[in-house]
Symmetry: C2
Subunit: 366 residues, 2 copies
Amino acid sequence: MRQLIVDLGERSYPIYIGEGLLEQAAQLFGKHAIPVKSPIMIVTDESIAPLYLGKLQSVLEGAGYTVHSFSVPSGETSKSLEMYERVMTAAIQAGLDRHSSIIALGGGVTGDLAGFVAATYMRGIRFIQCPTTILAHDSSVGGKVAVNHKLAKNMIGAFHQPEMVIYDTLTLKTLPMREVRSGLSEVIKHGLIWDRGFVDWCREHAEQLLHLDSEALAYALYEGCKVKSYVVSQDERESGLRAILNLGHTIGHALEAVAGYNELVHGEAIAIGMVGSALLSQRFGYESEIHRITKQLFERFGLPVQIPAHMETDAILEAMMHDKKFKEGQMVFVIPVHIGKVEIRSDVKVEWVREVIEQLKGKERA
Amino acid sequence: MRQLIVDLGERSYPIYIGEGLLEQAAQLFGKHAIPVKSPIMIVTDESIAPLYLGKLQSVLEGAGYTVHSFSVPSGETSKSLEMYERVMTAAIQAGLDRHSSIIALGGGVTGDLAGFVAATYMRGIRFIQCPTTILAHDSSVGGKVAVNHKLAKNMIGAFHQPEMVIYDTLTLKTLPMREVRSGLSEVIKHGLIWDRGFVDWCREHAEQLLHLDSEALAYALYEGCKVKSYVVSQDERESGLRAILNLGHTIGHALEAVAGYNELVHGEAIAIGMVGSALLSQRFGYESEIHRITKQLFERFGLPVQIPAHMETDAILEAMMHDKKFKEGQMVFVIPVHIGKVEIRSDVKVEWVREVIEQLKGKERA
C-alpha cells in the first residue's frame, strides 16, 4: 500500500493507494478513529453499487458500524440541487449525527455530490472518499466539492477536505477502456505541469498503464496525486498557483461545451487542449519540442490530439469567453515553458487562439 | 461608533455598532477594500426592504458599486432549500463573481439564508451582515449560517465568517416592542453566562433599553457581542465551550416546539428557560439568589417567566428528548453556578426537569 499525505495543516489527510484496499476499509476506519457509535452512510451510483457496495458495506458492518447507503443515477445529471436534497433527506432519515461520516464510493460526480452533502450536513461532518475511477485521483485532492446549478456547472459548493482517501486499484479493472484513457490524460497533465521525470516514466509505461497493471497504476496515481497535492497545499483556496492545474482546460472545457453528447469525454477534451497549449507556447518563443513531445505522448495513449473537423471555430471561441475562468474579460492560459513546467499568461491574443484552433482542426500543420 | 473585533485568526472580522451606520456603508466598504468592479447583491426581506433597502442601495451605488437586490418573504419559511436555490439563481443572473459580496440586510432569517448562499456560491464569497434586529446580534457573531430541511431545523449549513458586521442602531427603532424585548432576552443571556457586571448594568438600564435609547442599545449590543465573540473565538467549530451559549435553550426550544403559532417568540421562550435553569441549579446546591435575580430581571423587561398553564408537561419533555442538543440520550443542561457563570451538566435527572416544568407552570412555588 502506498500512502501520500496531502499537507494542509490541521486539515491534512492521507491518500491510501493499493490493490484490494476496500477489504481493509475497517482497519483504516479504526486507524482514523471513525466512531462505531454513530451511523455512517455510503453514497454511490447505480453502476458502481452492484460491483462494490455490498463488499464495502459488509466489511464495515463486520467491524460494528451501522452502515446506510444511497445510490444515485450514474452521470453528471446527479450533481444537482435536487439530488443534493434527496441525499440530505436520506442522511437525516438514517439518523446521521455530528460524529457520522459520509463515504463517497464512485467517480468524480459521486465524490462532488457526497462531499457537498458532508460539507453542509449539520454544518459539516466527516467525508471519506473511495474513488473507483482514474480520473477521480484529481478530485480526491483539493477538497473542492460542488453541485451544478441549471445555469452553470459547479456553481454551488464548498471546500471540504476528506478525512482520508481509500484508493483501491482493483476497482479500476472494471473501467471501460475509454474511461481509462481519459483518466490517464489527467494523470499525464500532472506530469506536464510539474515533473518531466514522471512524463518520461508515463511514456515508458504506457502499455502497463493501459493494461491496468496494478503496480504501474498505483505509482501513476501516487505521482499524479503528489503533484496536485503539492500545488493545492501551496494554495488551498485557489487564489493563485492552483490555476496551473488548468493546463489544457480552457480549450478543453470549450470543446466539451461545443461537442455533441458522448463525442468527447473530459480527458479527451483536455488532451486536445494540452496539445493546443503547447502550440500557443510557440507564440511566446518556447521550444517546438514541447508540442512534439506532448502530441506523441497523447497519441501513444490513444487519446485524440485533433479537434473534430465539424466543430465551428467561432463556437469554440465563444464557449471560451463564457468560461468562468476568464478573469474580467482577459484570455488567461496555462502555457508550457518546457515539459514539466508551465506559467500563467494573460497576454494571449485572441487571434493566436483562433489560429491554434484551426491548427488543431488539421487545417494548418504545426 | 463602537467597534469590536471577533478574534478568529485569519478569519477575524469587526462589528461596527452605531447610529446611522448604513449612511456610512460606502466608507466601510472602502475600508475593507470591497472591489467596485464586481457586482454585489443585497438580500433582504419584504418587511425590511421598504424601510432600508433603498437607502443602502443608493449609498453604495453612489460609491460606484453595481448593486443588485433580492427580497424574500418575511419569516422562518424563507430559510428553505427552495429559497436558497432562488437566491442562488438571482446571484448567477446578477453575474456575481468570486470577488463579489453578498450583504444580508435584516434579521436572523435573512442572515442565515444569505450567509449560506455566500458560503457556497462559487465555493464561498464575501459576506457582509447588516442586522436590523436586536436578536441578530447573536447570529452576527460565530459564522453559523444555515437553512432548514423539511425534517429538521438548521440541518443544512456551514461556518462562514462575515467580512464585517454593520450594526445601525437606527434600524432598531422600527422594531415592534415584542421583538425588542425578545432580542434583549438574548442580550441578557450573554450577561448571565459570563459577566455579572453587565447583568447589573442591564437591570439598571432597563428603561433606556426598552425605550431604544441609542447609546444604551449600542453599549448592550457591544457587550452582548463581546461575550459571544469571546466564547466563539475559544471554540469556533462548536466542540465544547460554545455549548454554554445554550443557557435556557433546552427548555426554550421545547417550549417553542410545543407552543401554538405566535404564542411564544424565541426570546420569550428562552427567558422562561433561563428561569428554569436557575431552578435546576438549586438541585445542585447553588444559591437560590440565582433564581430570584434571574426572575426579577426578566420581569423588569416585561418578559414571561412562567410556562403557559395549558402546555402539557409530557409534551414539553418529549420535545426536549428530540432536541439535537441531546448527546446520545443524556440530558445536557447549562446550569448557572452564580450570576455571570455557568457550567455544563450531563447529570440532570429527568424527574428534576419534570418538577421544574411544573414549578414554571406555577403549580408549585419555587
